[in-house]
Symmetry: C2
Subunit: 374 residues, 2 copies
């Protein structure tokens, strides 16, 4: 098997300097693997639907799940979800601190609040007391769309500065009350503003784990581009302990894109990576079809292999040789490589079968369904 | 209309320091707008198909198109394409320097060669002479999959160092012959390696315009994640004068993703930006459906407006107020905003219509079909 393709280098990343938290058994911060989060789009009242979605998301690689608790009527079903969930459940609370306190009592592994929407710092203090006594961590999540009133009209500050300053003030408030089980987020829908805000937080509060995200990033494609750029840029810089890709799309897509961002940033891998060329007038097979078929069939493969599907003689042999398993195509045929060596030539129609056969030969059938690098 | 959401700040970007080239009328480098490229996947023999694809890609925002010229039989149809193309055509040449020379004579606006695949530097010199006499710029494109033989076994260099050193050596060769109409690319399928290689090039050859790309990035979603992260990270740093998103998918997708990357990086915008939340248990409308409908209908809008489609009262009013036009939804209804002001409340079924009505009211019907910020 090929070595991880992206060896870390340079100074010690910021994420190794943050405190380590325990979110219902999942470590966050202090150099722990960057954890993948998502959020349910169903109301808690659909308890069975929520639990089924959590199982499906967990199977896709989600590690922490967030659930909105918008009102007191949601509390019993929230409690039932926490009791049966296979993932730690984060309660997302706004406007009413009593919901936050009740969510703690009913099984939340973490709270996410924006103290700016809670009404008063005295009410926030009641939440701090409850979480402190139960050892429940809190994410302070500030957001450009709900910036605290103290910062909305601060024309002397840029948006990133306002987001960071607001988050810092809340952290100071929690710290003064002896509470340090904190995660911070500072999201905007502008990628530049988001990246700048997190850089400020990483510099000013180096011990506080950061939850990354570009908020309201939009539908599948635009949201993927904005999230990959905003979250990925920070991850490449060593910033960020956990994150959520926010898409106006099913949460399964959020988790899938999240793992692709982790792989692209060279941090963690889940399953194979496909190296495939964009095709051009030089290509003499239907490469898009072959690559799509291989990609589909790779979903059943759990090993972090690199698989190259290449259309011609320009970069094909080099990439196929460098991959764990690969093919470099010519006119209606493909030369199959494994472990850097040429094996044989097959007709176009057999290329996907041949690659999957070779992958199977290289993969120990140990029944593991998740493989992660680093 | 809102101001561009991502004002540039910090030191002067690297792309302002590069030489300015003219690629068939499209300026590249020297601070020109970062140009969007794509590449045809059809053989030149399908001349009509190629010309139709070029027109379609141009309408989608492609500014420079690349065409593979794999053999002498392709030259007459390549010439016909150059003669009728609405975009400057770049000839992509490997292995045979005579094809490069002929492509110049037949209308190429630029050449893309990897001198490492041309066979000998004497053959490269013949290409340099032809391009020099005709004033045709050349992209030197080195690629991890076809690294020059001098660097393949250089275990003392990392891959980014090898890519950069190989590119530098080629640039020196061209410069010694008095040729400086160069663009450089150094692509790998690893995002980290690609970013590192381009940073080295920007530092070592600050005057040479850079063509960015993550090569063989894979199919639509993985390729989009890797391209957004690799290309976008460099663009955010001020590096990169032109780029291509390489996807194992139709070139139309490459162009669409390219513009989304430019918008996310805050550099250029084409049409509206949709700010839409990921929905959660708090949302009491079918926001995914509304956002999809609005997104579809925004394709007909050319102005660089920001449109917010938000599901609840947490960030909804803030984002809807901050957008040019927006909606903050509640139970089965939406409050419509325009220019920061609340206009009226409509039923869920009428939200998309209301937003599009307000967008039309704000948009001068000047018939322009491309709007670009910066």
């Amino acid at each position: 098997m090929a070595a991880p393709p992206h060896p870390a280098s340079g100074p010690r990343p910021a994420r190794e300097l943050t405190c380590r938290l325990d979110v219902g058994g999942v470590p966050v911060g202090g150099g722990a693997p960057v954890a993948v989060q998502s959020m349910l789009s169903l109301p808690t009242a659909d308890t069975e639907g929520c639990l089924a979605a959590i199982s499906e998301l967990a199977a896709a690689g989600c590690e922490i799940i967030r659930v909105a608790v918008p009102d007191a009527a949601s509390l019993p079903s929230f409690e039932a979800i926490c009791a049966s969930s296979c993932l730690p459940v984060v309660a997302d609370i706004h406007f009413d601190h009593r919901l936050a306190i009740e969510a703690c009592r009913r099984g939340a592994a973490k709270l996410r609040i924006n103290p700016g929407t809670i009404g008063s710092m005295a009410k926030v203090d009641a939440v701090i007391e409850e979480c402190g006594s139960r050892g429940i961590p809190v994410r302070i999540g500030v957001n450009a769309g709900s910036l605290h009133a103290d910062y909305v009209d601060r024309t002397d500050l840029t948006l990133p500065e306002s987001l960071a300053a607001s988050a810092e003030a809340f952290v100071a408030h929690f710290h003064e009350r002896g509470f340090d089980q904190l995660v911070l987020s500072a999201k905007a829908h502008s990628v530049r503003a988001t990246v700048a805000a997190y850089r400020l937080l990483a510099a000013r509060l180096p011990n506080v784990p950061l939850h990354l995200g570009v908020t309201e990033a939009g539908t599948l494609m635009q949201g993927t581009v904005k999230s990959a750029l905003g979250i990925g840029t920070l991850l490449l810089e060593g910033i960020g302990d956990t994150f959520r890709v926010s898409l106006t799309a099913p949460p399964q897509d959020e988790v899938s894109v999240a793992w692709q961002v982790l792989a692209a940033a060279g941090l963690r891998r889940r399953g194979p990576e496909l190296v495939s060329c964009p095709t051009c007038g030089r290509c003499q097979v239907d490469l898009e079809r072959i690559a799509s078929e291989v990609e589909q069939r790779l979903h059943a493969v759990s090993e972090p292999l690199t698989v190259a599907v290449m259309g011609c003689a320009v970069n094909g042999p080099g990439e196929a040789r460098g991959a764990d398993v690969g093919v470099a195509c010519g006119r209606g045929k493909g030369v199959v490589f494994s472990g850097g060596k040429i094996l044989y030539t097959v007709d176009e129609a057999m290329i996907a079968d041949a690659l999957l056969d070779e992958i199977e030969r290289r993969t120990p059938s140990d029944g593991a369904n998740v493989s992660v690098v680093s």
